[in-house]
């Protein structure tokens, strides 16, 4: 079976689910590049993983490196042989260095004359020999988020390695790593099938594992689980919701895709459905069962075994779920002995940040900010509800339920407010205050939710920046990037004409003397930080980086306005007239570099082309100003595009740098005025234009 097939399996004690996939991709990459570096590029490479193993099947590996002939050049022939044709001491020394007899010396004619040479055949190394070096290095070199040592200080690796299968075309690739020798024996399941068995190659390996119920291919296992979960749910009269994150996790914690369902006491359905779902999902990695919008008193999860012959697994899981839900109900009842408002009364004891004070103080600042935001936005009808919501926003942080299920912060407050009889926009605002978290999440619903979401984030950003604790590299302990991302998304998606600098400045004032940095300094750090989020989000919306830069260069304060400018630029991307003006704008910028402001005098116009440019520029300014007043940025850019011809003609026919100083300064003044007009919508010089592309058409 000379197919050039490598089977590699590294079997270890259970590897954390979250680390499996990244480790496998690195292993694939490192083995591939190790082979390629040795001139043994494989045809195909496939990876598999389960909690107890990482596997690679590589095919089409050449059997060996190509043979090579290396030529060593020695002394000139004239110095290598004496008059009688016998090798001299120099020739003998050379032969010895090369490890050959003098008889192997050959005489050849090179460019520089006749020399003696030795030709050495270099056999290419076999793939097996190369693999014996590449594999242990690739396995040992994996970058784990956290490693450990074991036994007599062996390691580091993610968990102790139990065994290694390494076969090349059925033969063991011999190596040793962490005291474990490679071989052909593996184990399917430590409890259900603990006896080691030997394999001959990839197909045999998969077949023998499958016979012992282990599905080593992740996708296949995931599909089997998804189908099993659906089946079990439907047998219990329900459905499970889409949750591919949970399904991925479950696929990573078992190798045998078994599914088990169970039920719980129907009385628990009196708990809020969010609490039930979070308890089952976060603590038990189980799906809740649904029928329409309603939950059923049941759950479905996985087991690392094919069946549940005595119902023990089901009974055990039901017992645990009952204990969890009983805990949740206890917390819920404890919490509900007080109204959310009474919970809020305990916020002074809860620290937001040692230097920034308690959550009670934060709530107070948020109340001030939402009032300002409602005033700025002209949302007077929502003002009162926003203030109410702001006061209750953080109250759930004192509840038992949020201490137990931190993922439910906000949601719990919202539910409790609803149960207390709060108005819908108030409880919704509390409920959705942390949205959006993931990219697919919506922004908070309703105006009250929107102002609360903005105020909370601005307050946090300003406070932490005010202590000089800006995120650095991958360190972002206060989650400021996410806060900024959420803030920018809310403002953009709710289409709010807000000046964020103004809001941030107000937030600075509300901190009084708590901040360690001055307001100007805070804003000067915060602005580029927010700009980066804007770049990211607009980039995701499909705008090119130069369009975004051109827009950002003229104004940032009002994000929907910024987006309108960027969108207009994007729309003119193919407009040849507009692109020509962009090039002209760059030329103008070059000419005007280091010039001073000059006064324009109409009477100094000499040439026809400059006269026409002047008139056209007056018209252009009027058009641009009027269109801009209406926010019609595309109209601005279209006017600018129509300006291409007259500009071009000017540059062809008129020399700006005239010898006459007055004429020269007058033309500079004209260009300065044109530059101001051109730069109103966006800084056109930021745009990247391919000149060749433009000329071609």
């Amino acid at each position: 079976m000379a197919r050039g097939e490598l089977l590699l399996e590294v079997r270890s004690e259970e590897i954390p689910a979250r680390m499996l996939r990244p480790a496998l991709s690195q292993l694939e990459g490192d083995v591939r590049s190790g082979l390629e570096a040795a001139g043994l590029a494989p045809r195909r490479l496939a990876g598999y993983f389960g909690p107890r193993r990482l596997c690679l099947v590589v095919t089409g590996i050449p059997a060996a490196q190509a043979d090579e002939t290396a030529r060593e050049v020695g002394p000139p022939a004239s110095a290598a042989f004496d008059a009688s044709g016998r090798p001299t001491a120099a020739a003998l020394g050379f032969a010895k260095r090369c490890g050959v007899d003098a008889a192997a010396l050959r005489r050849v004619t090179l460019d520089k004359g006749d020399y003696v040479v030795v030709e050495i055949e270099k056999k290419g190394r076999s793939a097996a020999a190369i693999l014996a070096a590449v594999l242990p290095a690739a396995i040992a070199g994996l970058d784990w988020p956290k490693t450990m040592r074991w036994g007599a200080g062996i390691g580091p690796w993610v968990r102790p390695i139990l065994g290694i299968v390494a076969l090349f075309d059925g033969e063991v690739v011999p190596f040793e790593l962490f005291g474990v020798a490679s071989g052909r024996a593996t184990v399917a399941h430590p409890i259900l099938a603990p006896r080691p068995f030997e394999v001959r190659g990839a197909a045999d390996y998969r077949r023998k594992l499958a016979r012992r119920h282990v599905v080593v291919d992740f996708e296949a296992r995931r599909n089997r689980l998804a189908a099993g979960i659906r089946e079990t749910a439907s047998a219990m009269g329900g459905l499970v919701g889409e949750d591919s994150e949970l399904l991925d996790k479950l696929t990573s914690i078992c190798e045998i895709p078994g599914v088990v369902g169970g039920s719980f006491d129907v009385d628990y359905l009196a708990l809020p459905s969010e609490v039930l779902t979070a308890s089952l999902r976060d603590h038990q990695s189980a799906f809740t069962l649904q029928s329409g919008q309603a939950l059923l008193p049941g759950f479905v999860t996985v087991m690392d075994r094919p069946d549940d012959p005595e119902g023990k697994v089901r009974a055990g899981n039901e017992w645990v779920v009952d204990a969890r839900l009983s805990d949740a109900r206890f917390f819920f009842r404890e919490d509900r002995k007080r109204s959310l408002e009474e919970h809020a009364a305990r916020l002074p004891a809860l620290t937001f940040h040692v230097k920034l004070g308690s959550y009670a103080e934060k709530s107070q600042r948020i109340r001030q900010l939402v009032q300002m935001l409602c005033d700025e936005l002209g949302w007077s009808e929502e003002r009162e509800d926003a203030v109410t919501a702001a006061g209750l926003l953080k109250a759930d942080l004192t509840t038992e339920m949020v201490k137990e299920f931190t993922s439910l912060q906000g949601v719990i407050g919202g539910i409790y407010a609803r149960e207390d009889g709060a108005r819908e926009d108030v409880w919704q605002a509390i409920y959705g205050q942390y949205l959006p978290v993931a990219a697919s999440d919506p922004i908070p619903r309703g105006r009250v939710g929107v102002v609360c979401g903005i105020a909370d984030r601005v307050d946090t950003l300003v406070g932490i920046f005010g202590l000089g604790l800006m995120p650095t590299g991958s360190r972002d302990p206060f989650g400021l990037r996410r806060a900024a991302q959420g803030l920018v998304r809310i403002v953009l998606e709710a289409d709010l004409p807000l000046d964020l600098d103004l809001v941030a400045a107000r937030a600075v004032l509300l901190y009084g003397d708590r901040l360690e940095r001055g307001g100007e300094e805070v804003l000067s750090h915060l602005r580029p930080f927010l700009e980066n989020r804007v770049r990211h989000i607009l980039g995701l919306e499909g705008f090119a980086y130069d369009e975004i830069e051109a827009g950002l260069a003229v104004g940032f304060g009002n994000l929907p306005d910024l987006r309108a400018r960027v969108r207009a630029l994007h729309g003119r991307r193919e407009d040849r007239g507009f692109l020509a003006v962009v090039l002209a704008a760059k030329r103008i910028a070059n000419i005007l570099k280091d010039t001073r402001e000059h006064v324009f005098r109409e009477e100094l116009l000499r040439e026809e082309a400059e006269r026409r440019l002047f008139q056209a520029s007056r018209d252009l300014r009027a058009e641009v100003e009027s269109a801009e007043g209406k926010g019609a940025y595309d109209e601005c850019l279209r006017s600018i595009a129509r300006f291409a011809d007259v500009l071009e003609r000017f540059f062809v026919e008129v020399l700006v740098m005239d010898e006459n100083r007055d004429l020269r300064q007058n033309r500079i003044a004209l260009l300065q005025s044109i530059q101001r007009t051109l730069s109103r919508t966006a800084r056109l010089t930021e745009m990247v234009v391919d000149r060749a592309e433009l000329r071609k058409e």
Binding site: G151, G153, D308, A315, G316, V354
Partner: protein, 303 residues
């Protein structure tokens, strides 16, 4: 069905047969079996060690006046240390479950990532929570650092939660109903009054001023002992500091900033004790390194 004391007997016999010193609970208040000097100190340095013992472990903040069917201010752990960690430790652990009468052929056993860290001990490790049919029954940890020191060789720690295991095996819904003696005295009859009264002490009676003084006094005492070169008395003072801190914390008498500072003070003592312990063993020539054929075996898990 296995009673509470059956489990203790089964585990004791199982691990004694695998070469463990069958130790007894430490006679001071500790938060976990890890704090017993036969774990915390013995995992340091090069000497091999195998030990198993029950450790009543106090978590004042978890006390619930004997009302909560799952939470206790004091629970019992069965603690095992194997140093160095044997290559087949997972398999031996599985055998220990079978020794308790758990037929794993019909259960689902999984190892879920759970790394352990004890800031007051300057210790951390890597491992799993072992899940039986979705229930966490054991903490399985490879110690990497203790007392702020890198460990070599590495010890593995197995911590069985005895109440949970007994409840789970009998699918009992209330810890107080569990049989301590099969068909005889219940866990509640042994422990309930203690839980009620200890809760009252932790949450209502404990004298904050006295405990703070006690903390400071014990800290001074620990330092004096360290200066005098006696490790065990110093470590005992550190343990009592740690318990005083836990009671203060449960009493709600520790602010956020104070909390960080107190943890650091306990940690400093623990680190001091750990360093002094290694030095004292070095001075003795690491006696257990030389011991052979004794209770300490580093072979294949069958002592």
């Amino acid at each position: 069905m296995q009673s509470f004391q059956d489990l203790i007997l089964d585990l004791s016999r199982f691990w004694a047969e695998r070469g463990c010193v069958l130790q007894q609970p430490y006679d001071l208040e500790v938060g976990a079996g890890t704090m017993h000097p036969d774990t915390f100190l013995r995992v340091l340095g090069p000497e091999p060690w195998r030990v198993g013992y029950v450790q009543p472990s106090r978590r004042p903040a978890d006390a619930r006046y004997g009302d909560n069917p799952f939470r206790l201010g004091k629970h019992y752990q069965f603690q095992v240390i194997l140093k160095p960690s044997p290559a087949d430790v997972q398999a031996v652990f599985v055998e220990s479950l079978e020794a308790m009468g758990i037929d794993l052929a019909v259960h689902d056993l999984r190892f879920e990532e759970d790394n352990w860290e004890a800031p007051t001990l300057g210790a951390w490790g890597v491992g799993w929570q072992v899940m039986l049919d979705g229930m966490e029954i054991t903490q399985f940890t490879y110690f990497q650092q203790a007392g702020g020191m890198e460990l070599d060789p590495i010890s593995v720690e197995l911590t069985y939660g005895l109440e949970r295991l007994t409840m789970f095996l009998g699918l009992s819904r209330n810890v107080y109903d569990v049989d301590w003696v099969a068909g005889g005295v219940s866990y509640g009859q042994v422990r309930h009054q203690d839980e009620v009264e200890s809760s009252k002490y932790y949450f209502e009676l404990a004298d904050v001023g006295f405990l703070k003084e006690q903390f400071a006094g014990l800290e001074r005492e620990a330092r004096r002992c360290l200066e005098a070169g006696v490790v065990f008395p110093a470590y005992e003072c550190a343990l009592r500091c740690s318990h005083a801190f836990n009671v203060l914390d449960a009493r709600g008498a520790v602010s956020v900033t104070e909390r960080v500072a107190l943890i650091k003070r306990v940690r400093d003592l623990a680190v001091g004790c750990a360093e002094a312990y290694v030095e004292s063993r070095r001075a003795l020539g690491f006696p257990l390194l030389a011991a052979s054929g004794s209770a300490v075996e580093s072979a294949d898990g069958q002592g």
